[in-house]
């Protein structure tokens, strides 16, 4: 399951790459499609290869990548969240109301992180300990979180310090560096007991439990981290727009699921990889950019997006059926 499963006699290095190759299996098609879209985007918009063009693109991709990871994390444990969008909004309004106040950027970031972890952990506790279906709990949770966002900031407003906006959403690829850092942290997390338990808890909860995996703790931790990633995405969106909006995250719920599924994450838990989910979010974000540059009307964008998502999900399934 993980690169660290066989470390006897210093054989970690020889085993590492085959394991990684194995994880890439089944994602080849996705990577090719992502590459094709990236080439199309580069042709349509040659500015992509300048530093500022690259920065701008990664900035439009970054929040989607974060929520795709947040969703994928839950789907790997066999859960799902329909509250991602509301949580993104909550992160955005907290950032916009605290950062320009006495707490400052550092204090505001801590509050954003705590809110995400806290809400995520609470959702996880309810789903795991009370054994309620995740889809309904998070649907109800989206109302609670969305309501909290409305209480904090009833209408768009607030402010994020200008230097933070420049740092995160200016002409430097800070977002890309942050994404690499998050991906690296994910690799480290997978090496911890809770991270190892993640796949096991999703794939076969009863078997994992009997083998001594802390199933409940792994799932609750997944919800908490997912909340943290979502409010983090909200903070970034607030920095991008320079202010807060209590409903700005709404579209992220749908897009996070679409990105995760495009990336090969299964609904039943234990199937898929985080690199797939990130590639899925990249594809979705490239798709939107390419359609924008091709001059698609919003109508055609919706229609094309719907068709492409269905096609991308259906094709591998049909291929598997033929075999």
């Amino acid at each position: 399951m993980s690169a660290t499963t066989d470390t006897e006699g210093g054989r970690t290095i020889p085993l590492y790459w085959p394991v990684q190759a194995n994880r890439n299996a089944g994602l080849g098609g996705l990577f090719v499609v992502v590459l094709l879209f990236a080439i199309a985007y580069g042709v349509l918009f040659p500015g992509l290869f300048t530093l500022s063009g690259f920065s701008k693109f990664t900035q439009s991709w970054f929040p989607l990548a974060l929520v795709a990871m947040a969703q994928a994390l839950l789907m790997l444990t066999g859960g799902i969240s329909l509250a991602i969008g509301a949580t993104v909004s909550l992160g955005a309004v907290i950032a916009a109301t605290t950062m320009s106040g006495p707490l400052g950027v550092a204090g505001g970031s801590v509050v954003v992180a705590l809110a995400g972890l806290g809400f995520g952990a609470a959702t996880g506790l309810i789903v795991v300990k009370l054994r309620l279906p995740a889809i309904v709990v998070t649907l109800a949770g989206s109302f609670i979180v969305g309501g909290a966002a409305l209480l904090i900031l009833p209408r768009p407003g607030g402010a994020v310090p200008g230097w933070l906006s420049d740092l995160l959403a200016g002409n430097t690829p800070t977002a890309f560096v942050l994404l690499l850092a998050v991906a690296l942290l994910w690799k480290l997390y997978l090496a911890t007991p809770l991270g190892l338990g993640l796949y096991a808890a999703g794939d076969n909860p009863v078997g994992a439990y009997r083998s001594g995996v802390p199933v409940d703790a792994a799932r609750i931790a997944a919800y908490a981290i997912s909340g943290l990633l979502s409010t983090g995405a909200g903070l970034f969106v607030a920095a991008q727009t320079g202010s807060g909006d209590p409903v700005i995250g709404t579209a992220f719920t749908l897009n996070s699921i679409a990105a995760a599924v495009l990336g090969g994450i299964g609904f039943l838990g234990g199937q898929g990889t985080m690199r797939g989910a990130i590639a899925g979010s990249l594809l979705l974000s490239l798709m939107i950019s390419v359609m924008f540059f091709l001059g698609f009307t919003p109508v055609a964008q919706y229609v094309a997006q719907g068709l492409i998502i269905i096609g991308a999900v259906a094709l591998p399934q049909l291929r598997r059926l033929k075999r």
Binding site: R131, I144, A148, I310, L318, L321
Partner: protein
């Protein structure tokens, strides 16, 4: 002796069943609110609540079919909107009753549902993705058809459906009762109903036992499209005009009604007899929250918390998957 012996366990089984529990909760809330709040228990107010519940109940009827069959339909809100917006545009000039427009709208919404079913059955797309993608697709279509404007209604049949009250009972409620009776019969007294439960409980076992899995799947999504379309027609009649976003509240409401009524979101277990009081419960909660006169943020928090609390009563998954 033997008669009493067979009746008593049956009565106690009914008393402990999820649908009865939900009815009891609704009744308790109505009685408490009726005693403590002015005007809540008035006949006109309760009738209005049931009328609102009828729309949720119709959408939730199709949703119940889909959920019992092991799927989920996240496109119902979009279908409600499509039918409410498309109906005024589908009216033929030579039809004074407006019947043809209603039939065309229902055919359209059923076709959308069937398309969902085809995707789930033959393309093997997960229901959540298929119906979400369909909702995205329809959203684009709606902007194309309606843009940002409201389309006003000029259809005698639909106006009658939304406003007439033979013997003091709104037609919408009568329509809901009729559809409910049909749904309960189809679900619990036909081979098709038995196949839906089999499919939801274990698709592989159902297929091996001779259940036509693809046809059944397509049919349940078709039914969901039909009832969502019917709800769209009713809500259009009640509102007098259709606009983009008119159906938005019904996605969460339909799923919540199904789950509050004791149907397992994992499929294979449940009944529409629970969904009906579930719909009433939702409308009642919303009405109570409106009475509290809180800000939109608090209202949203209250609504979410109450649904969560009610889930604890009725929505527990009995065993670890």
């Amino acid at each position: 002796m033997s008669a009493a012996g067979s009746v008593m366990p049956r009565v106690s089984a009914i008393l402990r069943s999820r649908p009865f529990l939900t009815v009891a909760v609704v009744a308790a809330v109505w009685i408490v609110a009726g005693v403590t709040m002015r005007g809540f228990g008035a006949f006109g107010h309760l009738r209005y609540l049931v009328e609102l519940a009828a729309v949720i109940g119709l959408v939730a009827a199709g949703q119940t079919f889909v959920v019992v069959a092991g799927g989920i339909d996240l496109s119902v809100a979009a279908i409600v909107t499509v039918s409410a917006v498309a109906l005024p545009l589908l009216s033929l000039p030579g039809d004074p009753t407006g019947m043809s427009a209603v039939l065309a709208t229902l055919a359209l919404s059923t076709a959308i549902g069937l398309a969902n079913g085809l995707g789930v059955a033959f393309l093997r797309v997960h229901p959540m993705i298929m119906t979400l993608a369909m909702a995205t697709f329809l959203q684009g279509l709606l902007i194309l058809i309606a843009g940002g404007t409201a389309i006003s209604l000029d259809n005698p049949l639909v106006t009658w459906l939304g406003n007439a009250r033979p013997a003091g009972i709104p037609v919408g409620i009568l329509l809901w009762l009729a559809i409910s009776a049909a749904v309960l019969v189809v679900m619990h007294a036909t081979a098709f109903g038995a196949r839906i439960f089999a499919l939801g409980a274990n698709p592989l076992a159902a297929a091996l036992s001779g259940v036509p899995v693809n046809a059944t799947t397509i049919a349940v999504y078709g039914i969901s499209g039909f009832t969502a379309g019917l709800a769209g027609v009713l809500v259009l009649g009640m509102n007098g005009q259709g606009y983009v976003g008119i159906g938005d509240p019904y996605l969460l409401a339909s799923i919540a009604a199904v789950v509050l009524g004791g149907t397992s979101i994992l499929g294979g277990l449940g009944t529409y007899a629970g969904t009906m009081p579930g719909a009433l419960l939702l409308v009642t909660i919303t009405a109570l929250i409106t009475v509290v006169n809180a800000s939109p943020g608090w209202r949203s928090i209250l609504f979410g918390s109450l649904i969560l609390g009610l889930l604890l009563l009725s929505g527990r998954e009995s065993a670890r998957r």
